[in-house]
């Protein structure tokens, strides 16, 4: 469904992505593994249209999205749960969720989605009239995920969902991502915690300084000796 072919991205003169090719099939959970600055977040930004590829193509269900606006890309059903959560601090929980559904036309259907998100994260229901800025880090992460789900995304991208969370919440995030995957949501996961990411994912791409250096099933990547020493610490 999503296919990147030989994508080059530059920040000014810095060559951030070098001829990156990757694909995601419907229902898959694919993860990008790599060190800081390897180009994982840049890949997500390029898919969501925040960065433009200089060369190469990005297609989503066969449609070229490399030149589309962020608004058009969201309308196609690509949601992102950004790094650092990025909830709107002075908006209430409900208002944040409503923003996740901003481009949806079927506003009458939203009730169902609120209910679903509140059953997934009951704490958000208790706090629904509170401002998002008053929530704890873990609650904000749940809200960021809920907000992305409000789009009913065909592709859901997570950028570092465990960053800055206590270990018990990291485990909770892993459970949630696994649950969404089991429900059939197509997921692209970027995660510094390579061990967690590879445990959850069907397939993985390993990025180093903007290049894909290894790809394959999570199991095969987990067994790769270079990956074990560089990212898993054994």
């Amino acid at each position: 469904m999503l296919q990147l072919t030989d994508v080059d991205v530059y920040y000014g003169r810095v060559h951030a992505l070098k001829s990156v090719s990757l694909r995601i099939e419907e229902g898959e959970l694919v993860t990008l593994v790599g060190a800081n600055g390897a180009g994982k977040s840049t890949t997500l930004k390029t898919i969501s249209g925040m960065q433009r590829p200089r060369n190469g193509t990005i297609t989503f269900y066969g449609e070229d999205i490399g030149t589309k606006s962020m608004e058009q890309i969201v309308k196609l059903g690509i949601a992102q749960c950004p790094e650092g959560r990025r909830v709107f601090p002075d908006l209430t929980v409900v208002e944040n969720l409503r923003m996740g559904a901003y481009t949806r036309k079927d506003k009458s259907e939203l009730k169902k989605d609120y209910d679903e998100i509140f059953s997934l994260f009951p704490i958000l229901n208790e706090r629904k009239q509170q401002s998002a800025g008053s929530l704890s880090g873990g609650e904000q992460q749940m809200l960021a995920i809920g907000r992305a789900l409000m789009l009913r995304p065909r592709l859901l991208m997570f950028d570092e969902p465990s960053l800055g969370l206590a270990p018990i919440l990291v485990e909770k995030m892993a459970e949630v991502i696994n649950l969404l995957h089991n429900r059939g949501t197509t997921i692209l996961l970027v995660e510094q915690n390579a061990e967690m990411a590879l445990r959850l994912a069907d397939r993985a791409y390993v990025l180093e300084t903007g290049r894909v250096v290894l790809e394959g099933s999570s199991q095969s990547v987990l067994n790769d000796e270079h990956v074990r020493s560089a990212y898993l610490g054994n």
């Binding site: 950004p82 709107f88 901003y102």
Partner: protein, 290 residues
């Protein structure tokens, strides 16, 4: 006591207009990161719009205000599209300089069309004052105050309860995250600027019948608006309302009890006092909207 109340009410009326000017300017700054030096000229043009429609063409006053607002909403959209949007990726001083240029251009266009002599719009309402207890209020002043109140409340309700208003607040708080929601930032910017322009024009049309109308009147309106925005806290919507009302009352009391010569100095005294004691604005928190 009666005199005090009278000054207070006059101050609240002018203050309502300052608040209107202030919320437009503060939102344009908060959302677009544009310091808009042509805000006062939109106010001036609004007054001339009402002069042209009401005084010269005989259109009813309230309808003149509405038509002026509609025209300047469109005018603001065009300015955003043609001047500000192309400069969006530039450092903040570039669009600021563009609005300074625009303000000079608009003031001179007004000079060419309407010549520099001050003009009277004339009274849209009967001049008989309504006696309320010890104070007397003219119908135009009552109308101005309630119109300002309705517009401020309307703006607040729009930002608070509509999806587009919520999207504007979201953009204010985190532009990139808003873009990730599929919120079209260009549209948010255009609506914000158009709305701010229209509301400044209405403010000019409301105060026009009370004072005189002339092409350079925008400069004083601009400096008052900036006083309100700075005192209220940059980008702070309730702060701008509070600062606008306070400035109006302070001016009115200062002119009444000290000397009317000090009227225009009070805005600057207010900025200095606020910056010394509450540098992030009267309401303390610098980022808040709606």
């Amino acid at each position: 006591m009666a005199e005090f109340l009278q000054h207070l009410l006059n101050g609240l009326m002018i203050g309502g207009i300052y608040a209107l000017m202030g919320i437009g300017l503060t939102l344009i700054f908060g959302i677009m990161n544009v310091v808009n030096f042509s805000h006062g000229e939109f106010y001036m043009l609004g007054a001339f719009g009402v002069l042209t429609l009401f005084t010269f063409m005989g259109v009813p006053y309230v309808l003149s205000l509405v038509l002026t607002a509609v025209f300047f909403f469109m005018f603001g959209s065009v300015i955003e599209r043609l001047i500000l949007r192309p400069l969006r990726s530039q450092p903040v001083e570039v669009p600021m300089l563009a609005t300074i240029g625009l303000s000079i251009f608009l003031a001179n266009i007004a000079l060419i069309i309407w010549d520099p002599t001050p003009k009277d719009i004339g009274m849209p309402f009967p001049l008989v004052a309504v006696q309320v207890g010890p104070v007397s209020l003219t119908p135009i002043r009552l109308f101005v105050f309630f119109a300002a109140l309705v517009l401020i409340a309307g703006s607040h309700l729009f930002l608070k309860y509509t999806t587009l208003g919520t999207a504007i607040r979201a953009t204010f708080q985190d532009r990139d995250a808003a873009a990730l929601m599929g919120i079209n930032i260009d549209v948010v910017n255009m609506i914000t600027f158009a709305w701010g322009t229209a509301i400044a024009a209405i403010a000019g049309g409301l105060l026009g019948p009370i004072f005189q109308v002339f092409p350079t009147m925008g400069a004083a309106a601009s400096s008052k608006s900036f006083a309100v925005v700075i005192a209220g806290g940059l980008g702070n919507f309730p702060g701008a309302i509070l600062a606008g009302l306070l400035l109006g009352v302070a001016e009115s009391l200062g002119a009444g009890y000290i000397s009317s010569g000090y009227r225009d100095a009070i805005a600057f005294i207010m900025i200095i006092v606020v910056l010394i004691f509450r540098p992030t604005g009267l309401l303390g928190k610098s980022r808040r909207l709606g």
